[in-house]
Amino acid sequence: MSTLAITDLHASVTTDGGPREILRGVSLTVEAGSTHAVMGPNGSGKSTLAYVIAGHPKYEVTAGSVTLDGADVLSMSVDERARAGLFLAMQYPVEVPGVSVSNFLRTSATSIRGEAPKLRTWIKEVKEAMGDLQMDPAFAERNVNEGFSGGEKKRHEILQMSLLKPRIAILDETDSGLDVDALRIVSEGVNTFREQTGAGVLLITHYTRILRYIAPDVVHVFVDGRIVESGGPELADVLESEGYERFVTAPA
């Protein structure tokens, strides 16, 4: 049973006008098998939280801790975190010119698994995973995210998650940019992954529509760099109908 524990996490970004604190004391525990939804206004720091957990060099952690099964995540390099079992499906996946999806997937699977998957079974594995997400096999020969539409990028993120089988997956607005059919297909992909691996999921979103497919156990309201309220799935509906105003104007 894996546990991602975030305790009183503070992080800043360096701007031209000096450091700016974006995370102001985030505490959150995601256990294997559970799904947490994080909802909050634009610019509140949700992606920053995801990036800080993944180890993006742009952010500096100034206080607090992040552990995965007790191991100090913050002292690990970005790739070590991934090998330890963390995965971030990014809001804006990065294009890597000249690197084919197929080479990329095999390189990362080899790095994460510690040995090269047998070619035969690997090809089958990739084919099936792409089939489940209704991705055209031709994507394998294209360069990573290059010229992908918004929705194609998101499917590609979920494809990686299915193949890399992390213990804790953070999905940053995986639903945005997806049409109704794609949303259903991608959600099914996430659900299959949850069932098969028992992984914990932290799902960042603005909309309840994805939560109708992927049922969260807990919903957190994220405002101004911290979690201001947590509740059951019904909290999501309240947020969608009433917005964040109540939380934004509440005294800190």
């Binding site: 390099s77 790739d79 990065v94 890597v96 000249g98 690197v99 080479n103 390189t107 080899t110």
Partner: protein, 383 residues
Amino acid sequence: MTTLTAPPLDLAPRLASADIEDFVVPTGREEEWRFVPMADVAAFMHPDADAGTLMAEPGPHVAIVDAAAADRTAWLPTDRPSAIARAGVASVIQVRVGADESVPEPIVVRLTGPTARTYGHVDVRVGAHARATVVLVHDAGVDASGSIVVEVGAGADLTMLSVIDGPPENVHLWQWHADVGRDARFTGAVITIGGRVVRIMPSVSYSAPGGTAELLGAFLADGPQFLEHRIFVEHDQPHCSSRVVYKGALSGHGAHTVWIGDVLVRREAVGIDTYELNRNLLLDDGPRADSVPNLELETGDVVSAGHASATGRFDDEQLFYLQSRGIPEQLARQLVVRGFFVDVLARIGSEHWRHEILERISSRLGMSDDHADLLRDVEGTDP
């Protein structure tokens, strides 16, 4: 990073001569020498009786011929070191592919040098409708100056690959010239990885209409290497095309690359199309890349003519993305740099040499054996 405005191309025919004294000793202030660390190339500015001649293993298509007996009238040097080398060589390396002959395997010419300073002359002739790939490997560990003269017969298809590698203290000064026949195709690729001061001057002209020339380059400069690629394409025949794509990756303080792309379209060269591109990738803040595309049109009656040049910093977001998928940083860097060169290398027909070049690039970038094995597996290049 600098993009300089080139002075207008000198439209007069360039001085070409076999007589050394027709070329004054350059001071370094001349347009064509202004970037070069002159002290490092000084030894090649005066004839050296002790300089040896570059040799190669003779083979079915390769012969070593006494310089006095070789017909070398096809092309004349256009600078002093080249004229000196031409006068100084004892023999010429001839590569010959007969008309209609199709050579399936690359013809590999591995240059070897008898002395620390050498002169070389390579003469390549491919007959009408022949097909071949010629690979010149410059990694003998000697300083060299010379010329490579290529004639591509009507309807022929020649790929020439020059791999400049070897120790990081060598000087390599080469003039390349290819004359492209009627409806012929010439692909000339220069891969510059080794050496300390490298100056390669590929030039192309067309002897009849319908020819296609593709000049490709991939270079990797590390401090304190100086690598200059000075290209000259002269369109003086109608309905020909030229495409120039050079890519460089630079790292380290003192690394300096220069790319000059001169394309001259003469009045009679109607209906041509030409495009040239140089892209440089700076892996850190140390290096300097100069890039000067220069397109001169004497006729407006062309199909298309364009150029582009861009120098950019290594994208840390790409590194983060790859690392976030478990790929170690060193390997992720390798992938990004290899990816940068992929489109140039993809145009080199020989699969074997494409991988050979990737391996040389990776080993220059300091790839560990584990990572090399992993990439061999991933790219399916296991024997």
